[in-house]
Symmetry: C2
């Protein structure tokens, strides 16, 4: 099955092999796989293009080559053009988040959606932008507005994955043992405070306030049962009398 | 003023000059400027590092060099470690969006926040991750989980800019002239329909339905006043009788 319900990435006259490889890598990172190239400079396959693709070389192997933008778009239903510059064309302008939300909706309805990315130095021509339904631009610092080609593909792929509801983190920070029951935490406090009493740590008039402050500090640790056991073990080690000589 | 309320990007033993340059470029795209390098391979300044930095070379010029991670973190209040792998450490795990929301909150409260990025091939060591308060990981396709170093910096910078409320698109798709008053649209319809009547376009039993469908189609264009003028001009051109010979 080729080109399922994911947007198709279309690079127009890309020039640098490392950008095409990095584009494939970025697509793979976020689950895209359909790449089209319009008239890549120096022909295709391009020397060195696999070196920056990490394990996304299957995307390069499956890339389709076209000689005009119109041909590369011929079978698509909805086309977004990425650009950093206002074009004086009365199209909807999206950030990558809203653009990919629109794309995900259309992909879900069975439309084929493509996203055009222009040349490294000069981007897309006005005539090429004119072939698109809407524009995607990026919320960059205006003083540093030049996004690398593969970087702009990355942001679009990242936002597509989120808009498609597929952006799941590879792992979460779940507790390895359950949170300690309050009884265990209080037993730890009482044990610690008894040891500190025995060591003469508390100036008597300040004792109650110091205890409250230290209990607060420990509560902020949100200890697990294992944490409480480890801490009580450490406390026993610190208060153990050295063996008699 | 150095290192204002923006996160500090810390690369640990980066190896490739182009990745450091691309990191600076990505930082500049989204308004970051404080870069720290721990023990960059091959020393500093590094040959070729400026070539991929676009106009963000000021970030490279201002980079601070440290020989250990602990030194690079010494003056920070809150540290996030980026990693693709579960580390068996009981830390909070954020995606870049939630991680940067947390960072933006702390930066707003005057804390200094740093984000650790590991070596190109092996990332951060467990001991280095252990120096951080929490983890940032990315919602990648598990089969293509390897993000390029500068790409992961880009996603963090992009999400920081959003979390900080600074993600403004450089332009919007506002109409160049106001939307056409309904009167002008209806006048266009009537003119078009009169021309089509004169041309014998409508089969009489279908005329009313065809008119409704075509009016619907035009309504979807959401024409401006200028659009209506242009369309009426085009219609006049099409219906003009050729000059007599």
């Amino acid at each position: 099955m080729t080109e399922p319900n994911r947007p198709i990435i279309i690079l127009v006259e890309p020039q640098l092999a490392e950008n095409i490889g990095m584009t494939a890598r970025a697509m793979g990172n976020f689950g895209l796989d359909a790449l089209r190239l319009v008239n890549p400079k120096g022909g295709w396959p391009m020397k060195g293009v696999r070196e920056t693709a990490s394990n996304a070389t299957h995307i390069l192997d499956g890339a389709r080559i076209f000689s005009t933008v119109a041909e590369a778009l011929a079978d698509l239903h909805y086309v977004l053009a990425t650009t950093a510059r206002e074009r004086g064309q009365m199209k909807r302008v999206f950030g990558p988040d809203d653009g990919m939300a629109e794309a995900a909706g259309r992909l879900g309805a069975g439309e084929r959606v493509g996203i055009l990315f222009g040349r490294e130095r000069v981007g897309l021509s006005n005539d090429e932008v004119s072939l698109a339904d809407a524009i995607v631009t990026f919320p960059v610092d205006p003083d540093h507005a030049s996004l690398n080609l593969a970087q702009s593909v990355l942001l679009v792929a990242y936002e597509w994955r989120r808009a498609a509801g597929q952006a799941v983190l590879p792992f979460t920070g779940g507790l390895r043992s359950g949170p300690a029951p309050r009884e265990a935490v209080i037993a730890l406090f009482e044990s610690l405070e008894a040891d500190l009493d025995a060591a003469g740590y508390y100036p008597p008039p300040k004792r109650d306030g110091m205890i409250r402050n230290m209990r607060d500090m420990f509560h902020r640790m949100a200890m697990t049962e294992q944490d409480v056991r480890s801490f009580r073990g450490a406390l026993r080690a610190l208060t153990r009398r050295p063996p008699e000589e």
